[in-house]
Every structure is written in C-alpha cells, then in structure tokens.
Symmetry: C2
Subunit: 278 residues, 2 copies
Amino acid sequence: MRILRDPAALAAEALQRRARGERVGFVPTMGFLHAGHTSLMDIARPRCDWLVTSIYVNPLQFGPTEDLDRYPRDPQGDAEKCSAHGVDVLFMPDTLYAPDHSTTVKVGGLQEVLCGAKRPGHFDGVTTVVARLFGVVQPNLAVFGEKDFQQLAVIRRMVRDLAMGVEVIGGPLVRDADGLALSSRNAYLSPEQRRRALSLSRALRAMAAAAGDGAADPGALLALGAAQLDVDALDYLELRDPDTLAPYLGGPGPVRAFVAARLGPTRLIDNLAIEFTA
Amino acid sequence: MRILRDPAALAAEALQRRARGERVGFVPTMGFLHAGHTSLMDIARPRCDWLVTSIYVNPLQFGPTEDLDRYPRDPQGDAEKCSAHGVDVLFMPDTLYAPDHSTTVKVGGLQEVLCGAKRPGHFDGVTTVVARLFGVVQPNLAVFGEKDFQQLAVIRRMVRDLAMGVEVIGGPLVRDADGLALSSRNAYLSPEQRRRALSLSRALRAMAAAAGDGAADPGALLALGAAQLDVDALDYLELRDPDTLAPYLGGPGPVRAFVAARLGPTRLIDNLAIEFTA
C-alpha cells in the first residue's frame, strides 16, 4: 500500500488507470478507522481493480462550535488497517482546498431535515468535499456507510443530479456486540456515557420490534422509542422514508427510524429499518 | 455526425471511449449557432479524438423575466454547422434534469459581480448545467467563448475547486466585420438597434486605444467609454482583473473592460483586453 498526499499526483494516476480501463474503487473517511470503515473497504475490494481510501477531516462540514479541532486521529493505526483490508492507495492530503476555494455543491430538500436541520451547512460541506474527492480519485464506485444514512441519501442525489457516473454503494451499519453503532466519536465517551449511549440502539430496536408485532401508529412508535432513551439531550427521533427522507405519516411503504442525541458534549446518531407486519 | 438525445446513452458511450484512452472534446452551447460557436469547435477538433457539441437552452440560467421562452432556435441549421465543423455527436436532450433535481453548484465571489449582480441565480444555473453536462460527456477538454468572459472565469474556478479534470480552453470572441460581438441574441435587434449596438464595441475600443496612448486613470477611461455608448439602458461598464474579476483601481497588471447594455428588451454584452503602455 502506498500513501499519497498530493491531490494532483493521485488525480494523474487515476486518470491513467481509467484510460487503461481499470475500475477504481473509493472509500472516503475522516480516519480513526473502526470495523465500520474496514467493512466498506471489504465491500469495495472485490468490485474494483484499484482501491483508494482517503482520510481527511474536512473542515467544511464542521460547524464553528463543533469538534473539528479535537476530532480523534490515529494515522499509523489507520494505515495498518487500510493495508490489512487491501487498500492500494491511502490518500491523506494535508489540505484539500485552494486558499481561495469558492465552490459549493448544495443538495436541496434532502439535506434540510434530520442532521441537516441541526447542523447548518454540514451537508454542503459533505457534498462539496465528496465532489472534489470524486474529481481527484475518479472512482467508478464509492462505498459509504449506512451509519450516516442521510449523508448516503444526499450523496446519491448529488451523483444522480450531476451525472457523476459513480456507483454509490451503501455499507450496512456495524455495531459493537452490545448494540452500540460504531463511531469514531465513541472514543469521546466515558464508561458511564457509553452505557447510557446504548439507549439509542435500544430505542430503535424497541420500535422495530413493536412494528414487527403489529404496532402501526407512528406517534405511538415514537413514544415507545423515546421512553427507552437515556441521554442528556435529544436532537431528534423520527420515522422517515429511506429514499426521500419525507416524514412517515403511516401506511405501507419502507420506513426508517433515525435518532440523534447528546451524551455530555458528544453527539451520536443511529438508524434502523422499520418493517411493519402485513 | 450522430444526433443523441438521451443523456444516459451518451454517458455510456463516453465512459467506454474514455476507458479506451480516447480524448473527448466538448463544446456546450444553447444553439442558434454562429461563427463564434463554430470557432470553438474548430479549436476543439484537433485536440480530441471524439468531439461532442451540446445544444440545450438551460432553464436554470434564465431569470423569471428573461427570454427563455423566446430564445432563438434553429436545430436543422445548427446540425448542418456542427457537421461541417467536424462534430462527432450533437447532443440535443429534450430535458436534462430529473423532475426532482435538487443539486446546485455555486461559485462564490466571481459570480457576484458584473452579470451575476444583474442576473441573480444566472451563474448558479450555468455552473450547475455545466457540471451535469461534464458528468454526461466526461470531456478531457471543453471550449467556452470569451464573449461570456465572466462565465469562463466562473467555470474555470468550478473546475479547479471540484478537481473536475477538464482542460478549460477559452476561445477568442468573434465579431462581425463592423465590430459587433456575435451573439444569438443579435437576432432580436431591429436594423436601428443593431446600428446603435455597435456603440458597445466602439466604447471598448476607445478605452483600449486611449490606454495604448498613455491614459491610465480608470475613471477617465470609463468616462471616455461611456461617452461612446448609444443604448437604452446601461447595466455596467467596468474595468476588472481578468482572472479574479476584482475592480481595477489603477496601476500595472492585466485589465479587461466589460460592458452590458440594453437595446429595447435585448441585453447585449461585450468585453475587451485593455493594455496600458509601459
């Protein structure tokens, strides 16, 4: 595995490979890699000839009061994990933007709810960095985790609308044995906070179980989930269409439950498919 | 020459050609082609293996009171001109956007002055359609006319910021023998308006001549140009840096003069390099 830091060098090599007919796979990350990230590499690996993973803590997607400066980092451990999971090039740019960078890619609608409503500008930062990374890496396919389910929906929309020609693959959320969704931000949690953080997945599972047992009223499901939560602040607990992210108002059709909450200063998110009995 | 209307079919062929190492050239237009457009094809032709021209009157770049509905069209004549200038594929989509298209590409700064100040949202529409067209056509190089000088600057910035990997080439502005900058919108002009429209290029030439003769004060140059104008309404007459589009305040360095004005309902633009004597 090679480590590249220069976007222009990576873009030049990607261009050559594409012109030789190679398939380029891509897993963009912000580093501090865990089994959720490496599962995305395992999805991409058999689907491409050349696998690129990026590690870049993108300042554009952090708000002024968020954790950009203390976001956890472990470049050496990350490189070992990438190498063990078949990555050909680990792209770790020192910076990704020109000093006078002035272009923003914005997806309307989808990015205005859930985390977008709570983190103004966050998804503009995500779509802008992903567009630029796609420009550098020129992937045929890219894998994003379903942990950031809204991010995946927003990126799919951007790729469709701008005809980017990248196959976007969602990788299933990976949990610890006790149910906690893996997140680099779990490193912030005290043992006590980590125990209470289990209430997010517990709430989602309770809702899914009740739906499987015949419960169908959205309000009753949400109340049932909320009763499970043991957090310091709830950002949202919602039922939405997994494709359009429109609020779920009842009836058939695919539904996903989304939760975001804070334990101390740490903001955690989780989501789960809700399947109603016929 | 083939005519294609389906974006997906064009994208699939472009992908195959790129994967075989072919160089794809692209000249995007809104049709009603004149010698300015065909000069761009002549620039692109020897630089690529496969030349695509698009004709699409992009609704996103027209304001609600602008001339979208009456923009002139001549598909048959356009096809003949493209064929005569070596175009391989003429892309004429019926529509280019999904009904729920929701992605916008925005270039800050550069698009806020000159035409951007007078046509709110215009350049967002331009950058969004060009990003999508680049996605479909996957060009190695694209040629844009210097007639739309600000558009060229905005597109160069977008391509750089999003690492699109497209070589953007500016084609020199083409004028009629009497000096009028070629424009599809010249078709709107009455003979009287056309005569008065010559005052745009006359104003720019007067400014360039005075600078060449030693005039250096920006205010005096602008007054000299304005005195030449015979128009119904002046949108702007300005001196700016050709790269950053920052206002020219005097001193050395490259300078470009920009003018936009109305003759009746028709809005015309022109621009010219200003070279000062040492």
